[in-house]
Assembly symmetry: D2
Homo-oligomer: 393 residues x 4
């Protein structure tokens, strides 16, 4: 650990490895390795990270779980047709895709395996450990990019392992918790990139800490929420009183279909609203919708309307429309997080990585939601961690 060293071979184990975000990350990693593309969208390639002891693109080995069996090449082709991935990049990545394909294992599917959850944890952990051994990896970072789950109200109650084991035996644990528990058992760091429960329950957080594992989350901050945490401080620093912040999200793809379920969308809406109210105070009217609009495909369109009151009560309105392929915004952050968590683990850091708050809608720790403060925190942490490692890769 440390002494001018940098992390060596690092595994990236994706939960939901056949989805859009994962496929984009896998294709993108292949392209970065080949030098086919510039690292646009990769935060860890910015100058501020120039001397940080991060694993190189070549050091990262990818595997994962998924409950789907669709071939990665096929998903990649679908994303080409949707305009998200360039055809040339995907065809150049062909053999690397095949390599990853051979590292994918069946995920835990609550629809078919309910009641068998303790066994599922063991199986998943076994897959992760075997992956680490097979490739002689120094560490594995498990990143959950599977579909968003319904909110799990019981989450907070699982204070200790006994309670968790008992819930497992009853088969009432969400799939993300099964995966997170497996990760910790297999001594893997964990990143909760969705709004699902994952590692957030106290029993798992304690266990990770005890085993010396770092973790980060939750819910990647990519589009509308990123904008909100950038724009809201503008109003507050100018003493403008935001009266309402209304939002609508339109999205298709698998994500849109998942979020058409009212229970599931509640998870997402909760995560988005909490941040806004934290930034602006609770009296702000903040209606928010997520609509499944299948014809939009992989594109996500968000419209925000902000109404603020200024000097002598004069009104100001701001409208923002953001349109992007959400998976293309998320995928490089998955790679960034893999590198940063690897660096942290290599430096002996354990528990919640609060310095990674800028990547998440609901960051662990109490640093607030302001993107500017989060970025400053990240840079400071990178500087300190780099210095402690003896400076530079």
């Amino acid at each position: 650990m440390g002494g001018n060293s940098r992390p060596g071979r690092t595994g990236l184990w994706l939960i939901g490895a056949r989805g859009s975000v994962a496929t984009t990350a896998i294709v993108g990693l292949a392209a970065l390795r080949s030098g086919l593309v510039r690292p646009t969208g990769c935060v860890t390639e910015l100058p501020a990270f120039g001397s940080a002891p991060l694993p190189g693109w070549d050091d990262i080995v990818v595997g994962g779980h998924d409950i789907s069996v669709a071939d990665l090449h096929k998903t990649a082709d679908t994303l080409v047709a949707a305009g998200l991935l360039p055809a040339g990049v995907v065809s150049a990545a062909g053999s690397q895709l095949s390599t990853v394909e051979s590292e994918l294992r069946p995920g835990y599917d609550p629809a078919t395996q309910q009641g068998d959850q303790a066994h599922a944890v063991t199986r998943l952990a076994g897959d992760m450990s075997a992956f680490a051994r097979r490739h002689d990896l120094e560490r594995v970072v498990v990143v959950n990019v599977a579909s968003t789950e319904s909110p799990w109200p019981e989450g907070a109650e699982l204070q200790d392992l006994a309670a968790l084991e008992s819930a497992l035996s009853e088969g009432t644990v969400p799939a993300s918790v099964v995966a997170a528990y497996a990760a910790v058992q297999a001594d893997c760091a964990y990143v909760e990139f969705t709004p699902s429960t994952g590692i957030t329950i106290p029993a798992l957080r304690k266990l990770a800490e005890q085993r010396g594992l770092p973790y980060a989350g939750r819910d990647g901050k990519t589009g509308e929420t990123l904008l909100r945490t950038v724009l809201a401080p503008m109003f507050t620093e100018r003493a403008l009183a935001v009266r309402s912040w209304s939002g609508t999200n339109l999205l298709g793809g698998g994500d849109g279909a998942t979020l058409a379920d009212p229970d599931v969308v509640a998870s997402k809406l909760d995560a988005k609203s909490r941040g806004l109210h934290a930034l602006l105070g609770g009296e702000v009217a903040a209606p928010l919708h997520i609509d499944n609009v299948p014809d939009l495909g992989q594109t996500k369109v968000a419209w925000d309307h902000v109404h603020a009151e200024g000097f002598l009560g004069s009104p100001a309105t701001l409208q923002v429309t953001w349109s992007a392929y959400d998976s293309a915004l998320a995928a490089p952050l998955v790679l960034d997080l893999t590198r940063l968590v690897a660096m942290a683990q290599h430096a002996g850091q354990r528990g919640p990585l609060t310095a990674l708050a800028c990547f998440f809608k609901e960051p662990f720790g109490s640093g607030g939601h302001r993107f500017d403060h989060q970025v400053r925190g990240l840079h400071e942490w990178v500087r300190v961690t780099t210095d402690a490692a003896g400076g530079g890769r």
Copy 2:
């Protein structure tokens, strides 16, 4: 200076005192004094400024120059009709408006007084000094909120007072420089709130420094440019490559009419573009327009369209529409700057107040254009200045 003290009676001398921004500031100050309104829009009323040794609203006395003779009450009524000022606030401010009215003096009008500029400087300085004596003011802050001038290419050449005096004798000096020179001669601090030349020429900057005067500027950052300096860092911190940032401003009112002059609008467009290119690098296509749309009255509408490239070349677009009464955004900043410059002068600071960068499109000093960095700089400066003063008002 210092020793747990705070600045006493402070003059605010407005160049362009009968315009929309000035009138809004005057009415607003009256309303703040009476406790009629909350200080929404006033940065110096935020908690971060709670113990700063600022002059109170009651400590500020207002006077000014203007080349127009339209009565302040009448301008205020026009702004009520335009929806900018609330009728109740204006009628409650009636007697305070009359008081300010009696402190207004004829401004320097280049259209009618060309060739007589040295004399104009003396006359304007005399008005300012008399104002300070008449009210027994500890200091006067002169703030230029007059109409934007055409760019003045010769500005940079006036390196010393001899060159300035010679240009004055030729009558080739812009009105804003006449006013700024008068301010310095009258030992007043100076704020250039427009994109005009004002205090920016080396001869005046040196003289202000010699006389122990602080100054700040230039060009108040209120709407679209504020947004840009908030949003651009979001892209760069996420390693997203902005390819184009196109903008259109629609405005009516006197400002719209002034900016319908292609020479004048060039000043404004230059100021706006320089900041954007500094934030994003020079290869960004950044067409920008300002259109005079008289029917919009005091409302300013800005539309920005940003096209960025993300991971694997995938596109993201952001559209922003901002609509507000520009004078209502600017006026509280004029009051904030008066207080902050008074605090600086009281604390013995002289020369360019680079810590006030967050208020300007083209800030003096080299701190960059990022709003987050500027705000941090402001807060740090306030903390240090407050501590030096013995802490708190």
Copy 3:
């Protein structure tokens, strides 16, 4: 009827006479009579209506019902504060407001008078008849501008008067039907300007026809829906295939509060969606929301996002943001409808006035939703009716 004549004194009896739309119509009518304002927003003042036998502004006498007791002057002042009504116009209308105030009667309030509905019909009809007699009116047009009700599924079943009387005795009839029945009993024409049930039930439609009464409705087409029925044909006439048309409405005021009730909002959303699907076919994804955003006051903001497929599958997107005071859009249409319904009745027309389709979201009759077709139908009808009347007022 006919012979180069035009309708004489006409009553406008407003259900919901103290609300925003009614107050705006009342103030506006006063201003039009005084010649204080131009008739902007009044369709019947367009050249195409120049020789139509319409009642003049001076010929219209206003009264109405409301369950609120708030004074009209007070409501008008509130609308001035909200920016909707100009202060000068309201103060000039003062005495005319008092005159209307004296013609207002307590409305039927289902919350307090349930079970007594037959009596309520009699009472309301009596108020209308007395109004007509008191002012020696040739006819009265009752216009419902009260708050939107919840959808009433039983509506269609009330095929005849016996069924309606029986429902009244059970006290299960919506307030709008009580009012519409009263109108018909009092031999008044009726306009359903809201999405409520009103005159739409077969029992009342038959009765109106029998009594020789014309009626029109329903649900005034003012903002977003107007836009949609203008824009949708552009796509279809260009053979562009609309894939999704997503919408969000933000509104405050009393209307926003009423529509915060999920049952009530369902009425409104249904009305809006039916038209869109009729224009574009049923496969279009069309999520739609109405949010109560109190701070927006009387302003209504609608955002629509349209995604269409063009030649060779190429995408086109259209975004529309509409912002306006909804009551100011609705009020002149209330006056227009009063004049047009009066003209129809004077010309001996009875039953549903299908030619008035352009004013409604869910027009009676089968003429479709296209605004261009509706406008053509209106103009043709006006021409024919004018000619039949002997041409011209």
Copy 4:
């Protein structure tokens, strides 16, 4: 002519045959012939045209002129990379592209051939005639889709052939007029799809009429202008007074580069503004910009901001953002116009085809700019022409 017949083999001769619009039309025609795609975007495939005597897709043979020598396959590949054309459609069209490629001839390039214009006319006309003979075509429709030219103030003066011949001998005639004259000499119908001069000069219009040739134009109405001629009537039919209609167009591609020339853009802006003022009256403020934003590629983004005054002076604002591949909007109209002009010529119609107004920004004839009226005129004309032909293809 007539007798239940329909037009037979028809040539489409494209001026600017290697540009984006032409290439899209050529690829699209190939795909339509193969039944590979649905005819989305093709007006003449709407039900209203079901029995019109139009040439079928198989009846159309394509050739053309261009000053570029870039291979059609290469341009098509560029348009695939830009996202405009689907890769599968282009590869399926391969052999048809080669066929068209063999029918392309060098265009007239004023930059290299100035002073030799009479000879150029003869050469171009010869190419067109040879094309007609080679394929045994019943007629040829020449469509100008070359780059927009600078406005040509002298256009109006060329009243007769003598003046035109004299200008040709001086070499001062714009390229579009050279092409249009060639078309008429070769007895081809002509469509001016750009804002260039083309057939608009009196000398050519008279000659076409004499020779029994129909023509149509000018300047295809595809995006923002289409929207404006749809939306403006909404305001006027509601008696809302539009005070300003501000617009910005962002576009890249070759079109963006061409329009970066201030002279050229003037042509385009003039055409756009004339229509708006005709629809709304001359007092409307209507600033309009076209910006070259190369990174947008083939996408065209238009933003319009409309400010209108309604009842009692209350404001309403409408914002519209339109984003589409402009060439994909234009290309099917080029095919539609070819069919419709062929039908007209087959029916013996000559001179300006005013019934085709809905396709153009500056339609020949005096039917106004309203899209609804234009569409009605088109349908009426199709009905009459179809009936005259004996009904049905």
